[in-house]
Symmetry: C2
Subunit: 333 residues, 2 copies
Amino acid sequence: MATISDVARAAGVSPATVSRVFNGGRVTAERAQRVREAADTLGFSPNRVARSLRTQRASVIGLLIPDIANPFFTALARGVEDAAQRTNLSVVLCNTDEDVDKERRYLDVALAEHMAGLVVAAASRRRTDLSAAAQRGMPVVAVDRRPRAAEVDAVMVDNQHGAEDATAHLIERGYRRIACVTGPAGASTSEDRLAGYRAALRDADVPDEWIRAHTRHADFRVEGGYTAMKELLALDVPPDAVFIANNLMTVGALRALREAGVAPPGFGILSFGDVPWASLVHPSLSTVHLPAYDLGEAAATLLQERIAGSAKPLQTVVLRTSLEPRNSTAGPG
Amino acid sequence: MATISDVARAAGVSPATVSRVFNGGRVTAERAQRVREAADTLGFSPNRVARSLRTQRASVIGLLIPDIANPFFTALARGVEDAAQRTNLSVVLCNTDEDVDKERRYLDVALAEHMAGLVVAAASRRRTDLSAAAQRGMPVVAVDRRPRAAEVDAVMVDNQHGAEDATAHLIERGYRRIACVTGPAGASTSEDRLAGYRAALRDADVPDEWIRAHTRHADFRVEGGYTAMKELLALDVPPDAVFIANNLMTVGALRALREAGVAPPGFGILSFGDVPWASLVHPSLSTVHLPAYDLGEAAATLLQERIAGSAKPLQTVVLRTSLEPRNSTAGPG
DNA sequence: ACTCGGCCTGAAATCGATTTCTCACCCGGC
DNA sequence: GCCGGGTGAGAAATCGATTTCAGGCCGAGT
């Protein structure tokens, strides 16, 4: 591997001159030419480790996500990656598995590695701690989930509004007994979506007591959705529709519904978050589409501004969801 | 951010001693204790950039995969990640998008970043070029797909055997007109799977000419599978079963089949590679299960041996697939 | 008592780039 | 002819760790 000194020697100049050629310093055209030729023949490309050490800034950003198997997060990752690539940043993808300890280990690595910045979809609203990074001046952007205590930029979706819209849509279709399966009590996403669901039902004069009795908290995973749905179906008077707060739980719920022989349009299903290949499974499944790719792109762009030194006040960008209804003519009747 | 000298000063020792405390040199217990206390109070963790520069080896490995949205590769990535974490390596995940240029850019980054090694699922059998890495002594393990010219370790699945088994399974069930949708002509995976399919059919005395007429090459993506399946269904005498060479094309093919009103068990479907939530879609879909996680784990383990300096001759590890039939009593009839 | 090892320790070199500092040179103006 | 300003280039410092080298101390053996 050729070093900058090798190139300097080959071109008959000093290492400083070589560095200037590649970093926009003032060098006479003739010398610059010689340096470039020498670099080409030697196959030189600057050692990024040495550069990082000297300049005190890396060309790597970290992306912490809770579940790499969830298509929502892979789409988000692609958004981050595309935005990062535009300024020659590489992305280290870290899968925290919804595990706060694993997440903290990755945070430590990011700090020791002196990464340029972090995009974090927090594993927990309450227990994720981003203060260490903030303290050491490493820019952080929270995405999708905002850890409670952190003073960081954030890019979110309008969970409450999206959920309210979606639930209202079910009501318009004529469903009357609309249950809800949401995520863990701690998570901001699950609380906001639940709040939206509640708002829509209250607006339709459904009593709070009924709402509480038909709300289930699960874990944002397939199995959790399955179990919660089974519980709801076992009620004395089961619901005629359900609002489900994420895509994986929807998959589980669909299994429970199939086992119970229940299907649209007699039973209304609304998923918050796109279910992969949902059109194959249930053509009549409505979904709230989340702009996962844009979320990642916006977060990475914001992060790059901070890395470049922007001192603007903290921002929170909120992206809107969009409802994608199917089979608009059908209803419960 | 505290440096090693800060710790040294605080503990009243030299930086060398601090380094030895953390890297297993011989230091008296009393001093080591003082150093550890100083490090704790200062929140010291060694700067990995400086360490990499000095030791000439990084604690980061690169993972190049062609499609992060494919569950097969995310499972593989988790295998790599878990294995890497056991020896404190971090994984940089690079999504090449089946694009050889993008892949080459990532390879260059990996070299400039002086990563410890690479696990590569090549974007192309013919055009992916791993020689630059090999030349500079960076260990590389190919996984799932083996680039033609490269002299590297590899971890593969037994594509041909798996495909042959799967096709034989369809024959046993009584299907007689078994078509095939495979991947691009260049890819090793698609060729091997096609070969297995052919072998099984030849074994059942199906003429070569018929086989050729019922084989379609597509692009390993959803749309490709859809188009190819439509073509096959439009034949004068359409097939009564199909062997599909990867999971995403199966999704497309299923859509084509649904549109044509064709379904199991009258029509036999066999997917090479697990289709996510297939049980929801079509309970009677048989799949060849690919050990994606183990593939990644084995590759990362092999890579770590090389990084540690193993000079064993090049290895190729082949993992077996397993057939997961459903609805075993049903057949075409 | 003297020497020879062995074991710790700190000083200093090192990794490969960037960047500051300094100097030499050249040009133009007075 | 001399001086000032501007420009380009090299020498050397620097980033933060690891590692070599050399020396100091202590204990054991003769």
